[in-house]
Assembly symmetry: C2
Homo-oligomer: 378 residues x 2
């Protein structure tokens, strides 16, 4: 039986099916708030893009050249000088392309633990062995990475350094420099997955790892700042590797939808995405505050949680011998949901952890959901 | 170096870059005619789809349920009873998903030779060994398949049974029954890649292999009957395998663009796709006739060619010791292009072969292109 068939379906996506009853207040999915999508702006962009017949035709694998230029401009403006990117079908595809291009069966991948579970699936799918690196409030612990490098000789490190999924934590600038040094010394590829970086609600931006390390493959996405349904991501990598990834993408889907790409290019050229992101940040920041503010009255004494500066997630650890997978069933009976944390661990799960997303409910919805959750947790 | 990096870029896609000079009449690409796209119908469909905010959100991996229902209805109406499909990002993605799910490194894949070269890339990418099966005017030769099965024990057979790429040939009904028998006896999976089946210009439809063999994975596509830029394909497979493929797709790109899917669902519900396909067939049939009619005056005596009932391609073999890769350079000097046939062979290429597409030029353009080509070939 090929190894791909041993990989289980994502428990988060399976859980999402259960939370789709309209009466459930769900903190489970990592979903952007649909009421904040710029539906009118995007509809106009699609209509404008579809005035050109060529957007319906086959196109180069690399992606729409106008869109690539606009993405490079945007990254450069945010402190990451960029001359070329590969457009991907969401940044999930970028992960699979990197795994296919760089990992042989049996290869070792180091991941910050806990981490984005669909990344774990990608690595398992190509037969790689995943080794966890410890993290704390400042993100991945460089000392732990050094030990993992010495013991397991990984070929790749995967992390979400800014507002991580599932913890919401951000790797400090000092640690970024250390990670860059370790990667350079060990010849390690670093995948910097950055879907949330623009969603900052307080504090100053930390420079991307890719801006200080040329061993870094940087993944960006339109999903959290634009709309995930369009499935648009981008990948920035050293030129040689980028060329190889184009060939892998050619086999994967020839190219990303030219309609979605052209619409995104029109949208970026004719709209102020920064202003839209500022609106998202203002509202998501309020929602973050609503959830963090409600937590002390929701959870039992002894619970710890992260206090994210941005992104979508708060990560909790409950006291005592509890299993969040059992608690979520009770929560669903009270019409509220979260994600048990166990699936975010590469090896040994901590069953007392859970992830809560604050982006897809209003502050009022969060207050009501937290009140329901208190009945289960306290 | 991981095996994926050993796979070369598609020579066809590289050649397409050279043929993009506007003065070149290209018979190289397998491109549908852009002037026949239903641009207005599709623009209206996107606009209607984008009145619903939910088309911008994350969505289930399986695909838009309305679209899946409409695809099942269409397949059933065409003689292939279908209760479920997986929507894929073009049928190219379906190929990669199948390769990932069913092939271990070292697995053997049998392919009709010559065959679609991006399929060869997919199989090479997962480390499979490709073994050719002979074909003649009636498609793949069952006796050759029997030998390959006995000698190499392949786990999968890949073929384009109707209007094949690159030959335009169609596997006869009798041979389809034989292939189904061989697959059943050998426990062989059959991938029936059918992007061209609806583009028939004469004669009667031959029932899909999938309708007589439950070992068949059937791949369909919107690219040749709708628009390739939308990257919409579908995969029909036995229920267990379909479930496994959903998990592989989850890691590959989470799901196909919800905007493109919703637009296609609206389009199919509000437009007569059969009438559109009939218009395509009428025009493509004329173009086919124009190319076939011009061939005797274009090629040297002793040349043989296929006489396709549908699809997009004519396949030629020139007499003597010629190399089509050298000839195409001379052809480009005369502002005309085709694809040398060598890249469509899994193992030993026949350098005297070439593929010509008749769909993307008008009959007048074909006449002019063939006149230019005659200067090179005769």
């Amino acid at each position: 039986m090929p190894r791909a068939l041993d990989v289980a379906s994502s428990p988060v996506r399976d859980l999402l099916a259960l939370t789709s009853r309209p009466e459930v207040i769900s903190f489970a999915g990592g979903l952007p708030a649909p009421e904040l999508f710029d539906l009118d702006g995007l509809r106009i962009a699609y209509d404008k893009a579809l005035q050109d017949r060529s957007v319906l035709q086959y196109a180069p694998t690399e992606g729409n050249s106008t869109l690539r230029g606009l993405i490079c401009e945007r990254l450069t403006g945010r402190g990451l000088p960029t001359s070329d990117v590969l457009v991907t079908t969401g940044s999930q595809q970028a992960l699979t392309l990197v795994a296919t291009a760089l990992l042989e069966p049996g290869a070792v991948v180091a991941v910050e633990e806990p981490t984005y579970l669909a990344a774990l699936q990608c690595f398992q799918m190509v037969g790689a062995r995943v080794v966890p690196v410890a993290s704390d409030a400042d993100g991945l612990v460089p000392g732990s990475l050094r030990e993992v490098v010495a013991t397991h000789r990984p070929s790749l490190l995967y992390l979400v350094p800014t507002f991580a999924n599932p913890t919401g934590r951000t790797l400090s600038a000092t640690r970024r420099a250390e990670v860059a040094d370790i990667a350079a010394a060990a010849g390690l590829w670093v995948v910097e997955d950055d879907p949330y970086g623009e969603l900052r609600y307080r504090g100053d931006a930390v420079a991307p790892l890719a801006s200080i390390s040329d061993r870094t493959i940087y993944l960006g996405s339109f999903s959290k700042i634009g709309a995930p349904g369009m499935r648009l991501g981008w990948l920035r990598a050293p030129a040689d590797l980028l060329r190889a990834l184009v060939i892998v993408k050619q086999a994967a889907d020839l190219h990303t939808s030219t309609v979605d790409q052209a619409a995104a290019a029109v949208y970026l050229a004719h709209n102020d995405l920064d202003a839209h992101v500022a609106r998202l940040c203002a509202e998501y920041g309020r929602r973050r505050d609503a959830m963090i503010g409600a937590l002390p009255a929701t959870v039992p004494p002894g619970t710890t949680w992260t206090d994210p500066d941005g992104g979508m997630f708060v990560w909790l650890r409950l006291p005592g011998e509890v299993d969040a997978a059992v608690l979520v069933k009770q929560a669903l009976e009270h019409d509220v949901a979260f994600v048990p944390g166990a699936s975010f661990f590469a090896t040994t799960p901590d069953h007392a952890t859970l992830r809560m997303s604050f982006t897809s409910n209003t502050s009022d919805g969060i207050a009501e959901g937290m009140a329901r959750l208190a009945k289960v947790l306290r």
